[in-house]
Homo-oligomer: 247 residues x 2
Amino acid sequence: MSIRRYYGWVSASSVRKTCAVAVDIVLLTVREGALQILLIDRGLSPQQGWPALPGGFVLDEDLPDAAERELKEETRIDPARLHLEQLQTYGAPSRDPRGRVISVAYLALAPGLPVPQAGTDATNARWEHAAAVLDGRVTLAFDHNAIVENGVERARSKLEYTTLATAFCQEEFTISELRRVYEIVWSTPVDARNFYRKVMSANFLVQTGRHTTRDGGRPAALFRLNEERASDLLYPAMLRPRLMPRS
Amino acid sequence: MSIRRYYGWVSASSVRKTCAVAVDIVLLTVREGALQILLIDRGLSPQQGWPALPGGFVLDEDLPDAAERELKEETRIDPARLHLEQLQTYGAPSRDPRGRVISVAYLALAPGLPVPQAGTDATNARWEHAAAVLDGRVTLAFDHNAIVENGVERARSKLEYTTLATAFCQEEFTISELRRVYEIVWSTPVDARNFYRKVMSANFLVQTGRHTTRDGGRPAALFRLNEERASDLLYPAMLRPRLMPRS
DNA sequence: CGAATAGTGTCTATAAGACATTATACT
DNA sequence: AGTATAATGTCTTATAGACACTATTCG
């Protein structure tokens, strides 16, 4: 019990604790009208055969680089149009049966993606409905269910006050498509007319001039994210409907 | 380059990377009418003599426990009335000159505290104005300036939509004292009368029945946090004044 | 034409923000 | 009385939310 001085391990390396450090990625996308999450099936013990989050150990690289590398290795997903942000770090001593593993969780958002190809390591990657993980119909390895809960809640709340919903859309999108992202991620209906007015007044989209009829009906104007405002907070925020505003 | 399978290191431990894992704590308090942060002076190389965040290496314990233990060891601060939440994890390979150190940063908030006693390791701990760290008048060791920036911004934004401001107050406090917390943390004036109305309608305080005249003038009612709502989101939120609402 | 979706307008309730006024202590 | 702070009230403007209506395509 002599590890007193901060960073004092040059002369006290006997008590310095060392851990394996991993990244785990909650990759969310909106596909087939639902919020879906990328899962892999664990090929090795422990928890062999269980579904889990993609991820792996950190090499001699920065943490976000490790997350991108693992995604690419396991699913061949192109990290170019990928929003990536750090979620939380999980380090309970008992979270991995083999010993101390610190896991830095990342949240990744992507526009609708196809079924992932097997990665270079032939891991079986697939899309699963996020709802199935959240309500326990699908049980993941380790503490990954809790990580998913955290990630989905982060995505839900960031739709309120950032431009993050556009990360689920293609480069160009209609207001309706953006609204459907909100509805699907929040799993609550959103009034199309009020949404239109609010998203316009929040002023973070720019019109491309093009139109599309891919959703049927009257041609819809196509928009893209105003990159200059991409990191701004939305004002006013797009608050999700709150049940029982005040008790 | 054969670390392919996730958690596959039982049979491939030769490529498994291991890191030192530390916690660093951004402990904020409101003292003497200012937002202040707890700093220590590094006693050992590297960066000997530089101010830094309190913290240290993680032992065989969970991460929040490590943060509490380090705070207690270095400053004898009682973690009882302490809000502690995880901030972010910093893991750039070059952030520590001696090698790979992953640091899990924590944000701690406490009501006004006295000058810290030297801890068991005789580290010189002291309060510094957070503003001096933010604007670069005080340069910290490693990447600690960036961590402080992150921590202060987290505190500022959480005052908006959570009950966190009460973590800076004593058990019982007046509306004016709570308002002064908002003003100091946001460093912006807040209209006393509108604040009063909003905090009442947000409905997260309970009146204790007692009154105080410690601030002079008419006796003020004392309140405490309604514990049942402590983890709720504030509705409506206490938004800080935004300059230039919309460009 | 009807069906479908895009986009605009209108009304009401609530909340934000500016600011006046009254209340109750202390010296 | 005078001063200081607490607490309440009033008015204006902005935003949220409900919902009617018009516009433009397709088949």
